[in-house]
Structures are given as C-alpha cells and as structure tokens.
Assembly symmetry: C2
Homo-oligomer: 233 residues x 2
DNA sequence: ACAACGAGTATGTATATACATAATCGCAGG
DNA sequence: CCTGCGATTATGTATATACATACTCGTTGT
C-alpha cells in the first residue's frame, strides 16, 4: 500500500510484459497515457521507463514510442548459446537429429535439480547436434508444458528446441552448472569420441518469472567446444 | 563537449572511484556539494547517484551520506570464485602451495589470449590448491605489474594470489573461457588423478578500466568441481 | 553514567515546468 | 509516383520546489 509509486508502476509494467499481455514488439502506452493511467506526473513515468530501458526490457524511440524488447538471443553478461548460430559462425555446417520426443509427467528418474515438480507435464526431448556432419553435442531437455503450452505443437524435427525457445519465449533468469566428465561408452559412441574422452557438461535451468521454463543438460565434446562469458561486477 | 550533463557527471565520479582516488569506504561529497561542484540542480546529481547505487558502485545511507562500495567478492550475475572461500563453504580444509614465483617480462611462450603485450613486466605464479589435503586445482597466473605494482611486494606463500587480488584490487570487467580436457600425465600427477581424467579448465582475463589486471588458467579436477552461474538477460 | 528523546540533516520521492532533440508523418512539388 | 522538406510529437534532459523519511548526534532527564 505504502510502496513508492514508481516501484508500483514498474512492477505493473514488468508484470504485463513478462506475462505476455504485452508481447515483444508491442508498443506500450505513451508517457502521456501512462501519466493519465496512474494519475501521476510525466517525470515519474519517465524515470520508470528509463529504468526499464536500461534493464533492456523495453526499447525507446523518439517520436515513435516505447516498445517491448525482443527476447535477447544473447546478453551482454552471459549468453544462452544458440548452438546452430555458433556452429555456423565458425564456418561449419550445422546438423541436427531429434533422437526422442515424449510427452509425459516428471518422474523420479528426472534430475531433481530441474526444479520441476514430480508429475508436472513436460515435453522430454533428446537430440544430437552435428557440426559439418560430425557429432558435436548431446542434449537432454525437459520443457514445462504448463509454462510453455505452445511447445507441444512445435516441430522439433526441423528446429532445435533451444533455438525455438530462444525465439519464442522470453526468459527472466537462468542458471548454469558446468562440469567436466569422462565420456561413458554410450556417450562416447554418440559423440564419436574415444571412451573416456573429456566432455563439457552444461546443465541449465531457465525461468520466466516464477515458473521454470526448461531444464537441459548439454554434453559437448571437450575438444570441439569451449564456453565463453564476459561480465562486470 | 555536447555530452549530456548527467553522463559527464557519472563518468567523472566513476573515474574517481575506479582510479582509486576515492577508495572503498570513502564518503563521497554530499549531493549539495556536488550540486555546487558541477553547477547543476540537486535532481540531476540525485539521478546520477541513484544510478551509481543501482549499479553497486556506491552505497547510500540517509543522513550519513554516500560511500564507495567495497570491491564485491561476488556479483549477482557471475562471480569470480574465491577458491579458499568455496572450499571452506563445503566444510573442507583449504590448503595452498606456491609452486613457482618469477618476476619477468611476457614472452612468446605465454598464451596470446592473456592480452598482455610481449615484454610487459609481470609476476608469473604457479600454484596448487588443496581441499582437505587432496589436490584440487592447478593454477598458472600472470599479474601485470604495470597495473598492479603492489603485487610485487605481496606474500603469495600465505594468501593465494586470486584471494589477494579480489581483496585489494577492484575490477571492472572479466572474461571466462571454459573448456574440458583430459589430464596430461604431468597434470594428472599434480592433481592425483588417473591419466586422462576429465578436468575443467577456466581461463580468465580480468580488466580494470583499459588495463589487463591478470590472466589466469585454473585447471580443476572434473570430479571435484563444478562451476555455477546465475544470470538474467 | 546511560537511556530516551528531539533537532537537524542527507537522502528519497514526487510534481510542475521548460526547452532540446530526433524521428515520423503528411503534404507539396517535381 | 516518388522525393524532399517542414510540422508535429514523443522522448531526453534539466531546473526549481516541496515534503517525506530515516538516521545521526547532541542534549536532557532520570
């Protein structure tokens, strides 16, 4: 109740953007309209919108208005890699195989680190990424159908699920857990590695607001992949 | 020349903080003093200081004033790990061995990714981190003596160089490159691993303003270490 | 001596106002 | 029809002002 006005305005605008009520590209009301809507001065609205722009949630253009930003393929701090994009940026041909696709509930066999509740409906996907025809990465993914119902209809035989998600669903937070592991015989066969070859495992959990969007474990050939991150305090 | 006033003020304050002219804990001038100094209104100064506070560069306390923040041991986005701190947080005893220490110029053998110019004076350090007496990580580091002259006098037999740097030198930007590799026989011996065991390699370059502070490659036992990062777009 | 209270003050928030800036839209002219 | 120019307009920056808030410090009273 006694929360500062500008915080309440900011929370309200953020909620509309994150809920999808104002999708990417949507032109949000002008400062003058928001001034009327919230019954405050333009300076107050202006400071809120300037803050949202600095946070990257909206883009502002003089005379045109303020627009909800497109979901960022990459951030300045640390990016969620889009594997096809990265492979092609190295001048190689990208290939993709969908190994398994199943709609089911979260079971006891799924990693508890996924943050998905047992029984929650998910789309479970297993796939393999290729660079110039050579196996490159192995991916096992769970997508929450409660948070991303549209995933049930997506054609993941053509577009890898990571790419599809980055293009269609905005995310607000992500967590990586990165480890090195020796390839098991089965994994070595899938990645065309000698058994025991070093692999880089990236487990990522992605949120949108409070709900977990997706949990994915990607295992890369250590000799073909490195992960970069640039950041500031 | 025609740069917006608030940007010039912000740049000026940031420069004083990053140069060390205003060290951590220093009470920066009151808004009223800055108002006089820059010949502008308090609102303008207030917005600049509010921005600096949101970026974490300063902390503000009513009635007391605004203070330069302590260099952050960890950031909200992605941290530079302080290995002793992490080991002890897991309930293990931390140990440290300085293997080599040499003051020299950057040579052709040093990795070009370090970003240090050939011939630039550096302190080259090699050390080993132990957790509960067991080898844990192997570290090779270059510290630029042009940027951090105080490093020449520091006692790195007691405090690991990473910890010393985090405590004494503020940084503005860092870059990680993370790879998985199979341990060479020599590395395997140093880390008490079977030859070929998977290791996680973290190469990090750290800047302060324009100058490279340090370049370090840390190789961790893959079975004992994972790297976490949590971030937002 | 010490706790409680109150004055003073730096920051926090909000408003009204003014002018600068830049990009879009529409209209006029070729 | 297409181009270019000017009017319009939403944002960007800055000022002056006002009051709220919370913390510090000094003083007062027990």
């Amino acid at each position: 109740m006694t929360a500062p006005l500008k915080e309440r305005i900011r929370a309200d605008l953020e909620a509309r953007i994150l809920s999808g009520e104002w999708p990417p590209g949507y032109r949000i009301p002008f400062e003058s309209e928001l001034t009327d809507l919230y019954g405050c001065s333009r300076m107050t609205v202006n400071k809120v919108l300037a803050g949202l722009a600095e946070s990257g949630l909206i883009q502002r253009r003089r005379r045109a208005g303020s627009f909800v930003a497109q979901p960022a393929l990459q951030s300045a701090v640390l990016r969620i890699p889009d594997i096809p994009h990265e492979v092609e940026a190295r001048g190689e041909h990208y290939g993709f195989e969908l190994v398994a696709r199943e709609r089911r509930g979260v079971g006891p066999k799924d990693p508890p680190a996924s943050g998905l509740a047992p029984g929650e409906p998910v789309l479970a996907l297993t796939c393999r990424h290729l660079a110039s025809g050579r196996p490159f990465a192995w991916e096992e993914r769970l997508i929450s159908l409660a948070t991303v119902p549209a995933a049930a209809e997506a054609d993941f035989s053509a577009v890898p699920p990571g790419t599809w998600l980055l293009r269609h669903v905005p995310w607000t937070e992500a967590e990586h857990r990165i480890t090195a592991l020796n390839a098991s015989p089965a994994l070595a066969a899938s990645l065309d590695l000698p058994p025991g070859g070093a692999c880089l495992s990236v487990a990522r959990r992605t949120w949108r607001g409070d709900g977990t969007l997706t949990y994915v474990q990607q295992v890369f050939r250590g000799d073909l992949y490195s992960l970069g991150a640039r950041f500031a305090p």
